[in-house]
Amino acid sequence: MSNLKVNIAGVEFKNPVITASGTFGFGKEYDRFYNIEELGGICTKGLTIKPRLGNPPPRIAESYGGMLNSVGLQNPGVEHYLETDDKDLAKRNVVVIANIAGSTLEDYIAIAEKMNEAQADMVELNISCPNVKAGGMAFGVLPQNVEKVTAAVKKVCNKPVITKLSPNVACIADNARGAEAGGADAISLINTLSGMAVNYKTRRPILFNNNGGMSGPAVKPVALKMVWDCYNAVKIPIIGLGGITKYTDVLEFMICGARAVQVGTHNFTEPCGARDIARDLAKYVEENNMDINDLVGTLILNG
């Protein structure tokens, strides 16, 4: 019998397709286009203890086969989330992952503690946002810091914790080990690649923030390799993301070691894109009468 269900840290997903943080709001907008319950899970916009205004515009620029963003974690704050979207999402038959971020270790501990009041199923720890000046990225660069912040959050948070890893590091496998040593229940990767878009006429970066995080189909090969590297470094489950636009991309990520995937930029290109990937995946699994979990980490290296 075919199977599309996956399990990450004891949480069952009806399929391995999750929408990536920051590309899907809190699900409301896309719910007008399709029933978000067709997805395996949704990952919320990054939440912080206090509301954040974010960076001035422009916050987006296109690149060949990709894009850059510098939103800077604009969000209404965790209190607002708990009173509104958390309640609304809890009524839906879809796994909810609350993405949390901070500037200091104390911030991370405070918000992680606050998340115990949430009905969200899991917490994703954003230690790799390239678009906020303080903190964020600072916790995501060195393996010992990844371990430290993960351990601090694990100590106070009673939900499964996914540590989201940055690709802008010396060795992502070391950071995966750091997350695992800190007690992470899973890791997700890759966050965006640090980049810049330049206007040759004005000689200025297009983004007000100058730098931004690059995502989209152009980054997929980088992400696949990093997922494979991490798969060989840790035992905890991996959620793979980076440039997924079709169901065969999901198969590739799973073959490289991902247990589930996130779809981000593609939501902008195709508003029903994540749903269509889930549907196509279901069809593939049924046609091949397979358990999708059997694909995980089955990459056969050459030579």
Binding site: G22, G25, E29, R32, I60, Q74, F268, P271, C272
Partner: protein
């Protein structure tokens, strides 16, 4: 359950109308009802190297023919590609998005003010609300850039065109020319679309007149539906500044609330 959908349309025509400016008519099998001026269409380009859709204001629409018209200047890679689409090209599009211009009952006489490409927002306004009295003012840099004069004359009767250099119509900034005529026009509201510098000038020029001014903003967009928070504009509400989403909270705002 789903009240919105991604639609597929066919390019019916795509013609060069002025220097670097094109007008495309796109037909849809199921054009949604209730389109308003100021709303936009989020078009997916056919070349997949473009991951972002491009937002264009709905310049005009025809419920019977099930078409929308977009009028655009070639300014970057996306508009360059769009300008090359021939009749019959299929494009995916989300529409109508955004709030649009909605005159309330008290707004019986409306000035439509366009600056440059911003003029492309105007025709759909009288098309959607035909039972109002309109006067149109269009401003352009020079005569090579003049667009939509005939369309607006057909829709609103009275059209004043101004060029900055005086090469066509009245000479000067259209904001000042409108201000000169305000005393005799006595409109209930001014609906405007143009560049940000124009809004600054407009604010100043219309200061002596007690008239509400509603404007449409432009921004680089991601999702187009309010989820990604990249197209924000600064708005002052109840004395507090904050970001609102151009795509979902706008693109139409009260000028006195926009932080320029």
């Amino acid at each position: 359950m789903a009240e919105m959908k991604d639609r597929e349309g066919t390019i019916v025509s795509n013609v060069h109308v002025a220097k670097d400016i094109y007008k495309a008519v796109i037909a849809f099998d199921d054009l949604p009802e209730g389109i308003k001026g100021g709303q936009f269409v989020h078009i997916k380009l056919t070349d997949n190297s473009h991951v972002l859709r491009r937002p264009f204001c709905i310049c005009d629409f025809d419920c019977k023919a099930k078409t929308v018209t977009v009028c655009y200047a070639v300014v970057g890679e996306g508009t360059k590609e769009l300008a090359g689409y021939e009749k019959g090209t299929r494009v995916k599009a989300m529409l109508p998005l955004g709030n649009g211009f909605t005159p309330d009952e008290s707004m019986k006489k409306i000035v439509l003010l366009g600056g440059g490409m911003g003029s492309a927002v105007l025709p759909a306004i009288p098309r959607a609300f035909g039972d109002r009295e309109y006067v149109t003012y269009l401003g352009f840099a020079n005569k090579d850039k003049v667009v939509l004069e005939e369309e607006m004359r057909e829709l609103t009767g009275s059209v004043v065109v101004a060029t900055d250099d005086g090469s066509y119509g009245r000479k000067g900034f259209v904001t000042n020319i409108l201000a000169e005529d305000m005393a005799k026009l006595k409109p209930d509201v001014v609906f405007c679309c143009g560049p940000e510098v124009m809004y600054k000038a407009l604010k100043k020029a219309l200061e002596p007149f007690d008239v509400p001014v509603i404007v449409s903003l432009e921004a680089r967009m991601g999702c187009g539906i309010g989820a990604c928070l990249v197209c924000n504009c600064k708005i002052k509400l109840n004395g507090q500044e904050g970001y609102l989403r151009v795509c979902a909270d706008g693109p139409v705002f009260r000028l006195d609330e926009v932080v320029l």
